[in-house]
């Protein structure tokens, strides 16, 4: 299954009126009762949970949501949500890749089994919000032993009234034993300054030996606040690779938690944040090493122009019993203006003796030695800077090689370099 469609919600006016919106949804009979019950549970969790407090919550100290006025936000959005790339042989082998709504209709039991299996609504205020109000999302299910050769591409092109929009997404990706997939999610919205809220919950479950690459290109408009929560449960000897490319939005926060709960599980991250003007881009990667011989390798590359700001937090928790585990993290920042600021903050919590863990960070302007070298070969300074930045991001782009979004991403990075 694959599909695309207009992602209109029609579920109400603002977050404050969400309850009425859910009642409307119930009347239409478009969703099964268990699903509505889940939404109500999520809405109750959202209402009960407090807004993050920058004074008390370390994870929110550097990203303030002051003035977000969540309750007056609209909960409607338009646009096109499409998922492509599921080949016929994989489909025949039982693989599913479609919009969540379609999956609910076509395979309700399969969805019921997996929806909420990695992210409970109580996991956080914004998880609850996304789950309660989700207008769309992807549902990907790859059975045991099935390998998807081509990447699945989700195009989430969000539109909405100029007065403002609210887009809520709930995506679920489940890979069976030894299954393999690459999911690429591209989120876009108009490049004008219209205000918008994009709030997503993403759940990932990997069976034994499964391999998933999850790539996201966040290229939302400059008036958008984006809040995303993702959680992955990684099975025995399974491998998960996150690649987050944060390019757009006024304020973007991604909170990604990976649980290495079975022996031999591995997670790597290799993303980028490229901000300009007054963009605030915040990526939080949290890894829980629970089982033995689990591995995490977190890397992030950051370039900032103008007064842009980046926060990268790598929080690694090595629990008692994760003997033989190892963890590395490295953040590299290039500051293209003296007003730009990058905070890369590693945190390690180690409760097991037999582990290896390390972290590093570099930050500074473009290396003048390198610029001089390139210029000494006739290359003008602006082009030399561009080459250095392209080179800086090259390892991230390499993770997207052979995907349909490689050229788009390179083009967008070039645009931002010259913007």
């Amino acid at each position: 299954m694959s599909g695309s469609g207009t992602a209109a919600s029609g579920t109400g006016q603002t977050v404050a009126e969400a309850e009425a919106a859910l009642e409307n949804l119930a009347r239409t009979g478009a969703e099964p009762p268990w699903r509505l019950a889940q939404r109500r549970e999520a809405l109750a969790a959202f209402t009960a949970l407090p807004m993050p407090d920058p004074l008390r919550d370390e994870d929110w100290r550097r990203t303030r949501l002051d003035g977000l006025e969540l309750h007056s936000r609209p909960v409607q959005a338009l646009g096109v949500f499409a998922i492509e790339g599921l080949a016929e042989p994989a489909r025949q082998a039982g693989a599913v890749a479609c919009r969540l709504g379609e999956a609910l209709t076509a395979q309700p039991e399969l969805v019921r089994r997996h929806l909420g299996s990695a992210l409970a609504p109580g996991a956080g205020k914004f998880v609850a919000l996304a789950q309660a109000l989700a207008q769309d999302g992807a549902f990907v299910w790859v059975p045991d032993g099935v390998e998807l050769q081509a990447p699945l591409v989700v195009r989430d092109g969000i539109e909405g009234p100029e007065a403002g929009f609210g887009a809520f997404r709930h995506t679920v990706v489940v890979l069976g034993a030894q299954a393999r997939a690459h999911l690429v999610v591209v989120q876009r919205s108009p490049a004008d300054r219209r205000p918008g809220l994009v709030c997503s919950a993403v759940e990932v479950v990997l069976g034994p030996g499964a391999q998933l690459r999850y790539t996201q290109v966040q290229d939302l408009g400059p008036g958008v606040v984006r809040l995303e929560c993702r959680r992955a449960l990684v099975g025995r000897d399974a491998e998960l690779a996150w690649t987050d490319c944060e390019l757009g939005a006024r304020l973007a926060r991604a909170e990604v938690e990976t649980v290495l709960g079975e022996p031999g599980g591995t997670v790597t991250t290799g993303g980028l944040s490229f901000g300009h003007r007054r963009q605030h881009l915040d990526v939080l990667q949290r890894v829980l090493h629970v089982a033995r011989h689990t591995t995490s390798d977190l890397a992030h590359r950051i370039a900032l122009r103008d007064r842009a700001r980046s926060v990268f937090r790598g929080i690694v928790i090595m629990q008692k019993g994760c003997a033989g585990a190892s963890s590395q993290q490295h953040a590299a920042s290039v500051l293209l203006s003296p007003e730009a600021r990058s905070d890369a903050i590693p945190s390690l919590f180690i409760d097991e003796d037999d582990v290896r863990a390390g972290h590093g960070a570099t930050s500074g302007p473009v290396d003048e030695r390198v610029l001089f070298y390139l210029m000494s070969r006739g290359i003008p300074r602006p082009l030399a800077e561009r080459l250095v930045l392209e080179g800086f991001f090259a390892p991230v782009l390499a993770r997207l090689a052979n995907t349909p979004v490689y050229d788009e991403l390179q083009h967008r990075i070039d645009q931002k370099i010259g913007a």
Partner: protein, 263 residues
């Protein structure tokens, strides 16, 4: 061809002219009045002990921002080189083969060469044409095919970096090249290959300044003139035989007396 012949044959034409150049680094005077004129086709060796200012001369000519010119002039065909940005100097025909070339992560050699060649030639070269030129130069320099795909100087050995510098010289065809200790860190075979590259892959009328500690490379890039630099000044100039003399006697005899007090 003797030095005198060259001087005569090109008198009045294009030249690189360094006049009484003074350069400071971090406020400390390093070059204290260097004058040198290089005519097309001439090869000038500058020899001297460590810390005498040879590399400072190279960097100052290339326009490194850390090297402050406090006096003197550098003219290329009468144009003031010191007013040009480093990239303008390169486009005007100057080339510095670095002693320690920078590593540029993520930028492939071929991509870099394409941009450099386009900039210096002032018109885009076709990918096919460039590949052909690059392959030919790489063969001459004994470089493996994978050089073009590897990131510029990243993880290159010292010898690979030096070859890569001469590969760039071969493609950019500068009118005046400064080779800053291109022989250092190379074994004798590599010196021969690199020197052959300089002699055969550059323009036939390329003016060359060869900065070196040792006379070894001068066997393969025979200079018309040899200059001895000590303490920021050229203290003696002569023909090729001066290099052999230095090989025998070292720089001991050229230690400058404190000039200010000597007068």
């Amino acid at each position: 061809m003797s030095g005198a012949d060259i001087l005569e044959s090109s008198a009045g034409g294009s030249r690189l002219e360094i006049r009484d150049l003074h350069v400071s680094v971090d406020g400390k005077p390093i070059l204290k009045g260097v004058s040198l004129t290089v005519e097309p086709g001439q090869r000038h060796a500058i020899m001297g002990p460590n810390g005498s200012g040879k590399t400072t001369l190279a960097y100052a000519l290339a326009g490194h921002p850390g090297y402050e010119v406090t006096g003197g002039e550098v003219l290329l065909d009468g144009a003031n080189v010191l007013e040009m940005e480093p990239d303008e100097r390169a486009r005007a025909g100057l080339f510095l083969a670095f002693q320690y070339p920078a590593e540029v992560p993520g930028v492939s050699n071929i991509n870099f060469l394409r941009h450099a060649v386009n900039a210096v030639r002032g018109q885009p070269v076709s990918v096919f044409e460039l590949q052909k030129e690059v392959q030919a130069a790489m063969r001459a320099l004994g470089m493996g095919e994978d050089f073009t795909r590897r990131n510029l100087n990243e993880g290159f050995s010292g010898g690979e970096k030096k070859r890569n510098e001469i590969l760039q010289l071969a493609l950019l065809k500068p009118r005046y090249a400064i080779l800053d200790e291109t022989d250092s860190g190379l074994d004798i075979d590599a010196v021969q290959i690199v020197a052959k590259g300089v002699m055969e892959l550059g323009r036939p009328d390329m003016g060359t300044i060869i900065i070196t500690h040792y006379s070894r490379i001068l066997r393969y890039i025979p200079p018309h003139f040899v200059h001895v630099m000590v303490d920021g000044r050229i203290v003696r100039s002569g023909g090729p035989q001066l290099a052999e003399e230095l090989e025998q006697s070292g720089y001991e005899g050229f230690r400058v007396e404190p000039v200010e007090t000597a007068s």
